[in-house]
Protein backbone atom coordinates (compact mmCIF):
# COMPACT_ATOMS: atom_id res chain seq x y z
CA UNK A 1 0.00 0.00 0.00
CA UNK A 2 1.27 3.42 -0.88
CA UNK A 3 1.86 5.69 2.09
CA UNK A 4 2.72 8.62 -0.16
CA UNK A 5 -0.77 9.04 -1.64
CA UNK A 6 -1.85 12.59 -1.04
CA UNK A 7 -5.58 13.24 -0.85
CA UNK A 8 -6.85 16.21 -2.89
CA UNK A 9 -8.41 17.58 0.30
CA UNK A 10 -5.10 17.11 2.21
CA UNK A 11 -6.92 14.85 4.65
CA UNK A 12 -5.03 12.05 6.38
CA UNK A 13 -5.78 8.60 4.96
CA UNK A 14 -7.97 7.69 7.95
CA UNK A 15 -9.53 11.11 8.41
CA UNK A 16 -13.22 11.81 7.72
CA UNK A 17 -14.54 15.10 6.44
CA UNK A 18 -15.90 17.60 9.01
CA UNK A 19 -19.11 16.32 10.63
CA UNK A 20 -22.18 18.22 11.80
CA UNK A 21 -24.94 16.30 13.59
CA UNK A 22 -28.15 17.69 14.98
CA UNK A 23 -31.22 16.00 16.50
CA UNK A 24 -34.83 17.17 16.42
CA UNK A 25 -34.79 19.33 13.29
CA UNK A 26 -38.23 18.36 11.97
CA UNK A 27 -40.97 19.42 14.34
CA UNK A 28 -43.87 17.27 13.15
CA UNK A 29 -41.78 14.09 13.12
CA UNK A 30 -41.62 11.69 16.08
CA UNK A 31 -37.85 11.83 15.76
CA UNK A 32 -35.52 13.57 13.34
CA UNK A 33 -31.93 14.49 12.58
CA UNK A 34 -29.57 16.21 10.20
CA UNK A 35 -26.17 14.66 9.50
CA UNK A 36 -23.60 16.44 7.36
CA UNK A 37 -20.21 15.08 6.39
CA UNK A 38 -18.27 17.42 4.10
CA UNK A 39 -20.68 18.46 1.34
CA UNK A 40 -22.93 15.43 1.81
CA UNK A 41 -25.98 16.24 3.90
CA UNK A 42 -28.90 14.05 4.99
CA UNK A 43 -32.13 14.78 6.80
CA UNK A 44 -34.00 11.90 8.42
CA UNK A 45 -37.49 11.90 9.90
CA UNK A 46 -39.09 9.04 11.83
CA UNK A 47 -42.87 8.57 11.98
CA UNK A 48 -44.25 5.81 14.12
CA UNK A 49 -44.74 3.20 15.31
CA UNK A 50 -47.99 3.73 13.41
CA UNK A 51 -50.62 1.53 11.81
CA UNK A 52 -49.37 -0.31 8.74
CA UNK A 53 -51.39 -0.30 5.53
CA UNK A 54 -52.15 -2.40 3.55
CA UNK A 55 -52.94 -4.75 6.42
CA UNK A 56 -51.52 -7.88 4.81
CA UNK A 57 -48.06 -6.37 5.33
CA UNK A 58 -48.60 -6.33 9.10
CA UNK A 59 -46.62 -8.72 11.26
CA UNK A 60 -48.40 -9.78 14.48
CA UNK A 61 -45.02 -10.62 16.04
CA UNK A 62 -43.24 -7.32 15.55
CA UNK A 63 -43.24 -3.81 14.17
CA UNK A 64 -41.63 -3.25 10.79
CA UNK A 65 -38.90 -0.77 9.90
CA UNK A 66 -39.38 0.91 6.54
CA UNK A 67 -36.70 3.22 5.11
CA UNK A 68 -37.16 5.56 2.22
CA UNK A 69 -33.93 7.04 0.82
CA UNK A 70 -34.36 9.87 -1.64
CA UNK A 71 -32.08 12.41 -3.28
CA UNK A 72 -33.66 15.83 -3.72
CA UNK A 73 -33.72 16.89 -7.41
CA UNK A 74 -30.94 19.48 -6.92
CA UNK A 75 -28.66 17.27 -4.81
CA UNK A 76 -26.82 15.46 -7.59
CA UNK A 77 -23.28 15.91 -8.77
CA UNK A 78 -24.37 16.57 -12.37
CA UNK A 79 -27.73 17.53 -13.84
CA UNK A 80 -31.11 17.41 -12.09
CA UNK A 81 -32.12 14.13 -10.46
CA UNK A 82 -35.65 13.10 -11.40
CA UNK A 83 -37.88 12.95 -8.32
CA UNK A 84 -39.48 9.66 -7.37
CA UNK A 85 -38.03 6.24 -6.68
CA UNK A 86 -35.34 4.76 -8.93
CA UNK A 87 -33.69 1.33 -8.94
CA UNK A 88 -30.75 2.88 -7.12
CA UNK A 89 -32.81 4.64 -4.44
CA UNK A 90 -34.89 1.50 -3.83
CA UNK A 91 -31.79 -0.62 -3.30
CA UNK A 92 -30.31 1.95 -0.93
CA UNK A 93 -33.58 2.09 1.01
CA UNK A 94 -33.39 -1.69 1.35
CA UNK A 95 -29.80 -1.85 2.57
CA UNK A 96 -30.39 1.09 4.94
CA UNK A 97 -33.26 -0.85 6.52
CA UNK A 98 -31.05 -3.90 6.94
CA UNK A 99 -28.28 -1.74 8.41
CA UNK A 100 -30.58 -0.40 11.12
CA UNK A 101 -32.79 -3.41 11.97
CA UNK A 102 -30.16 -5.22 14.11
CA UNK A 103 -30.20 -2.46 16.77
CA UNK A 104 -33.98 -2.07 16.82
CA UNK A 105 -36.38 -3.72 19.20
CA UNK A 106 -39.78 -3.49 17.58
CA UNK A 107 -41.35 -6.62 19.16
CA UNK A 108 -43.28 -4.34 21.53
CA UNK A 109 -45.14 -2.76 18.60
CA UNK A 110 -46.78 -5.63 16.68
CA UNK A 111 -48.65 -4.84 13.45
CA UNK A 112 -47.09 -1.39 13.17
CA UNK A 113 -44.56 0.31 10.94
CA UNK A 114 -41.79 2.74 11.79
CA UNK A 115 -41.25 4.92 8.74
CA UNK A 116 -37.87 6.55 8.21
CA UNK A 117 -37.72 9.18 5.48
CA UNK A 118 -34.21 10.15 4.37
CA UNK A 119 -33.80 13.18 2.09
CA UNK A 120 -30.53 14.55 0.78
CA UNK A 121 -30.35 18.23 -0.16
CA UNK A 122 -26.72 17.96 -1.36
CA UNK A 123 -24.34 15.07 -1.98
CA UNK A 124 -20.63 14.59 -2.58
CA UNK A 125 -20.33 10.77 -2.30
CA UNK A 126 -21.16 8.73 0.78
CA UNK A 127 -24.84 9.60 0.74
CA UNK A 128 -26.16 6.20 1.89
CA UNK A 129 -23.79 6.31 4.87
CA UNK A 130 -24.85 9.87 5.77
CA UNK A 131 -28.47 8.74 5.47
CA UNK A 132 -27.93 5.81 7.83
CA UNK A 133 -26.14 8.07 10.35
CA UNK A 134 -29.01 10.57 10.27
CA UNK A 135 -31.62 7.79 10.49
CA UNK A 136 -29.93 6.26 13.51
CA UNK A 137 -30.01 9.58 15.41
CA UNK A 138 -33.63 10.14 14.35
CA UNK A 139 -34.72 6.68 15.60
CA UNK A 140 -33.12 7.36 18.98
CA UNK A 141 -34.69 10.84 19.02
CA UNK A 142 -38.08 9.17 18.46
CA UNK A 143 -37.60 7.42 21.80
CA UNK A 144 -37.50 3.94 20.31
CA UNK A 145 -35.61 1.30 22.22
CA UNK A 146 -32.23 0.68 20.59
CA UNK A 147 -29.33 -1.57 21.48
CA UNK A 148 -26.81 0.96 20.15
CA UNK A 149 -26.22 3.58 17.48
CA UNK A 150 -25.40 2.58 13.93
CA UNK A 151 -22.56 4.57 12.39
CA UNK A 152 -21.68 4.37 8.71
CA UNK A 153 -18.91 5.63 6.45
CA UNK A 154 -17.16 4.44 3.32
CA UNK A 155 -13.66 3.02 3.06
CA UNK A 156 -11.95 2.54 -0.23
CA UNK A 157 -8.85 2.01 -2.21
CA UNK A 158 -7.67 4.72 -4.56
CA UNK A 159 -4.38 4.39 -6.47
CA UNK A 160 -3.26 1.67 -4.10
CA UNK A 161 -3.97 3.64 -0.92
CA UNK A 162 -6.65 2.68 1.57
CA UNK A 163 -8.65 5.78 2.57
CA UNK A 164 -11.69 6.59 4.64
CA UNK A 165 -14.77 8.63 3.70
CA UNK A 166 -14.17 9.08 -0.03
CA UNK A 167 -15.46 12.33 -1.50
CA UNK A 168 -16.76 12.66 -5.06
CA UNK A 169 -13.38 13.62 -6.46
CA UNK A 170 -11.66 10.60 -4.89
CA UNK A 171 -14.40 8.26 -6.08
CA UNK A 172 -13.59 9.14 -9.69
CA UNK A 173 -9.78 9.40 -9.40
CA UNK A 174 -8.79 5.83 -10.09
CA UNK A 175 -10.47 4.56 -13.26
CA UNK A 176 -8.80 1.14 -13.13
CA UNK A 177 -9.02 -0.19 -9.63
CA UNK A 178 -10.82 2.40 -7.51
CA UNK A 179 -12.89 0.75 -4.81
CA UNK A 180 -15.66 2.08 -2.64
CA UNK A 181 -16.89 0.04 0.33
CA UNK A 182 -19.67 1.53 2.47
CA UNK A 183 -19.61 0.03 5.98
CA UNK A 184 -22.02 0.40 8.91
CA UNK A 185 -21.08 -0.69 12.41
CA UNK A 186 -22.69 -1.32 15.77
CA UNK A 187 -19.86 0.17 17.87
CA UNK A 188 -20.43 -1.76 21.12
CA UNK A 189 -20.40 -5.21 19.52
CA UNK A 190 -18.23 -4.32 16.49
CA UNK A 191 -20.75 -6.05 14.24
CA UNK A 192 -21.06 -4.94 10.63
CA UNK A 193 -24.62 -4.19 9.48
CA UNK A 194 -23.92 -2.74 6.02
CA UNK A 195 -21.29 -3.93 3.62
CA UNK A 196 -21.30 -3.16 -0.06
CA UNK A 197 -18.45 -3.03 -2.51
CA UNK A 198 -18.01 -1.30 -5.78
CA UNK A 199 -14.67 -2.03 -7.47
CA UNK A 200 -11.69 -4.32 -7.20
CA UNK A 201 -10.02 -5.06 -3.88
CA UNK A 202 -7.65 -7.86 -2.87
CA UNK A 203 -9.26 -10.37 -0.47
CA UNK A 204 -6.66 -9.63 2.22
CA UNK A 205 -7.30 -5.91 1.95
CA UNK A 206 -11.01 -6.23 2.65
CA UNK A 207 -10.38 -7.25 6.26
CA UNK A 208 -7.69 -4.55 6.56
CA UNK A 209 -10.22 -2.01 5.31
CA UNK A 210 -12.80 -3.07 7.90
CA UNK A 211 -10.22 -2.89 10.71
CA UNK A 212 -9.10 0.51 9.47
CA UNK A 213 -12.60 1.98 9.37
CA UNK A 214 -13.71 0.84 12.84
CA UNK A 215 -12.07 3.69 14.83
CA UNK A 216 -13.57 6.28 12.45
CA UNK A 217 -17.00 4.70 12.89
CA UNK A 218 -16.66 4.82 16.67
CA UNK A 219 -15.83 8.53 16.40
CA UNK A 220 -18.90 9.08 14.21
CA UNK A 221 -21.04 7.29 16.80
CA UNK A 222 -19.71 9.77 19.40
CA UNK A 223 -20.87 12.66 17.20
CA UNK A 224 -24.28 11.04 16.86
CA UNK A 225 -24.54 10.66 20.65
CA UNK A 226 -23.41 14.25 21.18
CA UNK A 227 -26.23 15.48 18.95
CA UNK A 228 -28.78 13.63 21.08
CA UNK A 229 -27.21 14.80 24.33
CA UNK A 230 -27.30 18.36 23.04
CA UNK A 231 -31.00 18.17 22.29
CA UNK A 232 -31.91 16.54 25.60
CA UNK A 233 -29.40 18.60 27.56
CA UNK A 234 -27.62 15.64 29.11
CA UNK A 235 -23.96 14.68 29.32
CA UNK A 236 -22.27 11.68 27.78
CA UNK A 237 -22.03 9.08 30.56
CA UNK A 238 -25.16 10.25 32.39
CA UNK A 239 -27.22 7.33 33.65
CA UNK A 240 -30.73 8.58 34.23
Amino acid sequence: MSEEFERPSKRKLDETRPIEAEAGVIKKADGSARFKIGDTEAYAAVYGPRELHPRFLQDPKTGILRCNYSMLPFSGDGSRVRPGPSRRSKEISLVSEKALIPVMNLEDYPNTVVDVFIELPQTDAGSRCAGICAASIALADAGLMMKDMVAAVSVGQVRGAMIIDLDGEEEHMDENEGTDIPVALIPSTEQITLLQGDGIVHRNNLIKAIEMVKPALKKIAEEQRKALHKKYNTQIGDQK
Partner: protein, 261 residues
Protein backbone atom coordinates in the same frame (compact mmCIF):
# COMPACT_ATOMS: atom_id res chain seq x y z
CA UNK B 1 -58.85 18.59 12.56
CA UNK B 2 -61.22 18.42 15.48
CA UNK B 3 -64.21 20.71 15.63
CA UNK B 4 -63.17 22.23 18.98
CA UNK B 5 -59.88 23.50 17.56
CA UNK B 6 -61.61 24.89 14.50
CA UNK B 7 -64.10 26.78 16.73
CA UNK B 8 -61.28 28.02 18.91
CA UNK B 9 -59.41 29.45 15.90
CA UNK B 10 -62.58 31.14 14.63
CA UNK B 11 -63.53 32.58 18.04
CA UNK B 12 -60.06 34.05 18.49
CA UNK B 13 -60.17 35.59 15.00
CA UNK B 14 -63.51 37.24 15.83
CA UNK B 15 -61.62 39.05 18.59
CA UNK B 16 -58.92 40.00 16.10
CA UNK B 17 -56.24 37.62 17.29
CA UNK B 18 -54.75 34.22 16.45
CA UNK B 19 -53.56 31.27 18.50
CA UNK B 20 -49.94 32.39 18.18
CA UNK B 21 -50.83 36.00 19.07
CA UNK B 22 -50.56 37.43 15.56
CA UNK B 23 -53.02 39.87 14.00
CA UNK B 24 -54.95 38.42 11.04
CA UNK B 25 -52.93 40.49 8.56
CA UNK B 26 -49.55 39.60 10.03
CA UNK B 27 -46.91 37.15 8.71
CA UNK B 28 -44.70 35.08 10.98
CA UNK B 29 -41.07 36.23 11.13
CA UNK B 30 -39.40 35.40 7.81
CA UNK B 31 -35.71 34.64 7.28
CA UNK B 32 -34.08 33.94 3.92
CA UNK B 33 -30.73 32.24 3.38
CA UNK B 34 -29.22 31.55 -0.06
CA UNK B 35 -26.32 29.78 -1.77
CA UNK B 36 -25.66 27.10 0.87
CA UNK B 37 -25.99 23.96 -1.27
CA UNK B 38 -22.88 22.85 -3.15
CA UNK B 39 -24.67 20.80 -5.82
CA UNK B 40 -27.40 23.30 -6.79
CA UNK B 41 -26.66 26.24 -9.10
CA UNK B 42 -28.90 28.30 -6.84
CA UNK B 43 -30.43 27.54 -3.46
CA UNK B 44 -32.61 29.18 -0.85
CA UNK B 45 -33.99 28.34 2.57
CA UNK B 46 -37.01 30.28 3.79
CA UNK B 47 -37.98 29.97 7.43
CA UNK B 48 -41.27 31.41 8.60
CA UNK B 49 -42.27 30.57 12.16
CA UNK B 50 -42.01 26.78 12.40
CA UNK B 51 -42.22 26.38 8.62
CA UNK B 52 -39.06 25.75 6.60
CA UNK B 53 -38.91 25.45 2.82
CA UNK B 54 -35.97 24.73 0.52
CA UNK B 55 -35.66 25.62 -3.15
CA UNK B 56 -32.89 24.50 -5.47
CA UNK B 57 -32.09 25.53 -9.03
CA UNK B 58 -30.54 23.17 -11.58
CA UNK B 59 -29.56 24.31 -15.05
CA UNK B 60 -29.07 22.19 -18.16
CA UNK B 61 -28.68 22.69 -21.90
CA UNK B 62 -31.56 21.12 -23.82
CA UNK B 63 -33.37 21.35 -27.13
CA UNK B 64 -35.95 24.17 -27.04
CA UNK B 65 -39.64 23.38 -27.53
CA UNK B 66 -40.54 23.33 -31.27
CA UNK B 67 -43.10 26.14 -30.84
CA UNK B 68 -40.61 28.42 -29.06
CA UNK B 69 -37.25 27.63 -30.75
CA UNK B 70 -35.62 30.83 -29.50
CA UNK B 71 -36.55 30.54 -25.83
CA UNK B 72 -34.98 28.91 -22.83
CA UNK B 73 -37.21 26.86 -20.56
CA UNK B 74 -38.42 27.19 -17.00
CA UNK B 75 -39.75 24.35 -14.89
CA UNK B 76 -41.06 24.56 -11.35
CA UNK B 77 -41.74 21.42 -9.37
CA UNK B 78 -42.91 20.96 -5.79
CA UNK B 79 -42.79 17.78 -3.71
CA UNK B 80 -44.79 17.46 -0.52
CA UNK B 81 -42.15 15.41 1.28
CA UNK B 82 -43.54 12.80 3.70
CA UNK B 83 -40.48 13.70 5.80
CA UNK B 84 -41.96 17.13 6.54
CA UNK B 85 -45.45 16.17 7.62
CA UNK B 86 -47.12 12.90 8.72
CA UNK B 87 -50.11 13.76 6.53
CA UNK B 88 -48.07 13.68 3.32
CA UNK B 89 -47.83 10.28 1.67
CA UNK B 90 -45.23 8.74 -0.62
CA UNK B 91 -46.23 8.10 -4.19
CA UNK B 92 -47.02 10.03 -7.34
CA UNK B 93 -47.39 13.83 -6.94
CA UNK B 94 -50.59 14.74 -5.12
CA UNK B 95 -52.96 17.33 -6.53
CA UNK B 96 -51.85 19.73 -3.76
CA UNK B 97 -48.22 19.50 -4.86
CA UNK B 98 -49.18 19.99 -8.51
CA UNK B 99 -51.28 23.06 -7.69
CA UNK B 100 -48.49 24.52 -5.53
CA UNK B 101 -45.91 24.03 -8.29
CA UNK B 102 -48.14 25.44 -11.00
CA UNK B 103 -49.12 28.56 -9.06
CA UNK B 104 -45.45 29.28 -8.24
CA UNK B 105 -44.50 28.53 -11.86
CA UNK B 106 -47.13 30.92 -13.24
CA UNK B 107 -46.03 33.70 -10.93
CA UNK B 108 -42.45 33.52 -12.20
CA UNK B 109 -43.25 32.75 -15.84
CA UNK B 110 -45.92 35.40 -16.34
CA UNK B 111 -43.94 38.10 -14.55
CA UNK B 112 -41.53 37.91 -17.52
CA UNK B 113 -38.82 38.52 -14.96
CA UNK B 114 -36.38 36.38 -16.96
CA UNK B 115 -35.36 37.11 -20.50
CA UNK B 116 -36.08 33.64 -21.92
CA UNK B 117 -34.61 34.69 -25.30
CA UNK B 118 -31.34 35.35 -23.49
CA UNK B 119 -31.31 31.69 -22.42
CA UNK B 120 -31.12 30.51 -26.03
CA UNK B 121 -27.69 29.34 -27.18
CA UNK B 122 -28.50 28.09 -30.69
CA UNK B 123 -31.91 28.62 -32.27
CA UNK B 124 -34.00 25.44 -32.31
CA UNK B 125 -31.08 23.39 -30.99
CA UNK B 126 -29.72 24.51 -27.64
CA UNK B 127 -31.10 26.57 -24.81
CA UNK B 128 -30.82 26.63 -21.04
CA UNK B 129 -33.50 24.88 -19.04
CA UNK B 130 -33.88 26.24 -15.55
CA UNK B 131 -35.49 23.81 -13.14
CA UNK B 132 -36.57 25.01 -9.72
CA UNK B 133 -37.54 22.40 -7.15
CA UNK B 134 -39.39 23.44 -4.03
CA UNK B 135 -39.67 21.19 -0.96
CA UNK B 136 -40.87 21.73 2.59
CA UNK B 137 -38.52 20.39 5.27
CA UNK B 138 -40.79 21.54 8.08
CA UNK B 139 -44.39 21.88 6.95
CA UNK B 140 -46.50 24.44 8.77
CA UNK B 141 -48.86 25.96 6.22
CA UNK B 142 -48.62 28.64 3.52
CA UNK B 143 -46.47 26.57 1.15
CA UNK B 144 -47.36 28.55 -2.00
CA UNK B 145 -46.12 31.84 -0.55
CA UNK B 146 -43.03 30.43 1.16
CA UNK B 147 -42.18 28.14 -1.76
CA UNK B 148 -42.71 31.00 -4.22
CA UNK B 149 -40.41 33.22 -2.19
CA UNK B 150 -37.79 30.46 -1.91
CA UNK B 151 -37.99 29.82 -5.67
CA UNK B 152 -37.38 33.48 -6.52
CA UNK B 153 -34.59 33.76 -3.93
CA UNK B 154 -32.90 30.61 -5.29
CA UNK B 155 -33.17 31.94 -8.85
CA UNK B 156 -31.72 35.29 -7.72
CA UNK B 157 -28.73 33.51 -6.14
CA UNK B 158 -28.14 31.13 -9.07
CA UNK B 159 -24.92 31.12 -11.11
CA UNK B 160 -24.62 29.42 -14.51
CA UNK B 161 -22.30 26.41 -14.64
CA UNK B 162 -19.23 26.45 -16.85
CA UNK B 163 -19.60 25.20 -20.45
CA UNK B 164 -16.51 23.81 -22.23
CA UNK B 165 -15.55 24.25 -25.89
CA UNK B 166 -17.58 21.22 -27.00
CA UNK B 167 -20.64 22.68 -25.33
CA UNK B 168 -20.66 20.21 -22.44
CA UNK B 169 -21.74 21.55 -19.06
CA UNK B 170 -19.16 21.18 -16.27
CA UNK B 171 -21.19 21.20 -13.06
CA UNK B 172 -18.05 21.33 -10.93
CA UNK B 173 -17.22 24.84 -12.11
CA UNK B 174 -19.51 27.82 -11.86
CA UNK B 175 -19.31 31.12 -13.71
CA UNK B 176 -20.05 34.54 -12.19
CA UNK B 177 -23.00 34.95 -14.50
CA UNK B 178 -26.38 35.00 -12.80
CA UNK B 179 -29.93 35.05 -14.10
CA UNK B 180 -31.05 38.55 -15.08
CA UNK B 181 -34.23 39.30 -13.20
CA UNK B 182 -36.24 42.39 -13.96
CA UNK B 183 -38.82 41.81 -11.22
CA UNK B 184 -39.27 39.89 -8.01
CA UNK B 185 -42.77 38.40 -8.19
CA UNK B 186 -44.10 37.65 -4.70
CA UNK B 187 -47.12 35.39 -4.15
CA UNK B 188 -49.30 36.29 -1.18
CA UNK B 189 -52.21 34.03 -0.31
CA UNK B 190 -55.12 35.53 1.59
CA UNK B 191 -57.33 32.96 3.32
CA UNK B 192 -60.83 33.42 4.62
CA UNK B 193 -61.54 31.84 7.98
CA UNK B 194 -65.10 32.50 9.13
CA UNK B 195 -65.52 36.13 8.07
CA UNK B 196 -61.92 37.15 8.66
CA UNK B 197 -59.21 37.58 6.03
CA UNK B 198 -55.93 36.05 7.16
CA UNK B 199 -52.42 35.87 5.67
CA UNK B 200 -49.70 33.28 6.30
CA UNK B 201 -51.89 30.60 7.93
CA UNK B 202 -50.30 27.84 9.98
CA UNK B 203 -51.16 24.22 9.17
CA UNK B 204 -54.09 24.32 11.63
CA UNK B 205 -55.42 27.64 10.38
CA UNK B 206 -55.20 26.39 6.82
CA UNK B 207 -57.53 23.53 7.73
CA UNK B 208 -60.02 25.98 9.23
CA UNK B 209 -60.01 28.15 6.08
CA UNK B 210 -62.95 27.76 3.71
CA UNK B 211 -61.27 29.42 0.75
CA UNK B 212 -58.19 31.32 -0.32
CA UNK B 213 -56.88 33.57 -3.05
CA UNK B 214 -53.24 33.69 -4.12
CA UNK B 215 -52.22 37.00 -5.65
CA UNK B 216 -48.73 37.12 -7.14
CA UNK B 217 -47.59 40.73 -6.99
CA UNK B 218 -45.18 41.68 -9.75
CA UNK B 219 -44.33 45.07 -8.22
CA UNK B 220 -46.30 47.61 -6.18
CA UNK B 221 -49.11 47.83 -8.72
CA UNK B 222 -49.30 44.86 -11.05
CA UNK B 223 -50.57 41.34 -10.52
CA UNK B 224 -48.99 38.56 -12.62
CA UNK B 225 -50.83 35.46 -11.40
CA UNK B 226 -53.97 34.52 -9.50
CA UNK B 227 -55.37 31.34 -8.05
CA UNK B 228 -58.56 30.94 -6.08
CA UNK B 229 -58.69 27.84 -3.94
CA UNK B 230 -61.22 26.28 -1.59
CA UNK B 231 -64.93 25.70 -1.99
CA UNK B 232 -66.50 28.99 -0.87
CA UNK B 233 -67.10 31.95 -3.17
CA UNK B 234 -65.87 35.55 -2.72
CA UNK B 235 -67.60 38.88 -3.38
CA UNK B 236 -65.88 41.61 -5.41
CA UNK B 237 -65.59 43.65 -2.16
CA UNK B 238 -63.71 40.82 -0.50
CA UNK B 239 -61.40 40.43 -3.47
CA UNK B 240 -60.60 44.14 -3.33
CA UNK B 241 -59.62 43.82 0.34
CA UNK B 242 -57.57 40.72 -0.37
CA UNK B 243 -55.66 42.46 -3.15
CA UNK B 244 -54.88 45.39 -0.89
CA UNK B 245 -53.66 43.10 1.87
CA UNK B 246 -51.53 41.07 -0.57
CA UNK B 247 -49.77 44.11 -2.01
CA UNK B 248 -48.96 45.46 1.47
CA UNK B 249 -47.33 42.17 2.55
CA UNK B 250 -45.63 41.59 -0.83
CA UNK B 251 -43.90 44.96 -0.53
CA UNK B 252 -42.42 44.04 2.86
CA UNK B 253 -41.38 40.57 1.70
CA UNK B 254 -39.77 41.95 -1.46
CA UNK B 255 -37.75 44.41 0.62
CA UNK B 256 -36.46 41.46 2.66
CA UNK B 257 -35.61 39.52 -0.48
CA UNK B 258 -33.68 42.46 -1.91
CA UNK B 259 -31.36 42.43 1.12
CA UNK B 260 -30.37 38.84 0.31
CA UNK B 261 -27.53 38.13 -2.11
Amino acid sequence: MNQEMMEHIKQALKKGTRLDGRRPDEFRKISIETGFLSTAEGSARVKCGAAEVLAGVKMAIEKPYPDTPEDGMLMVNAELLPLSNPEFESGPPSIASIETARVIDRGIRESKTMDTKGLCIEKGEKAWTIAIDVVPVNYDGNLIDLGGLAAVAALKSAKFPFVDKEGVVDYHKRTDKGVDMKFFPIPVTVSKIGDVLVVDPTDEEEKAAESRLTITCLDDEKICALQKGGSNPFTADEIEKMVELAFARAKEIRAKLQEVK
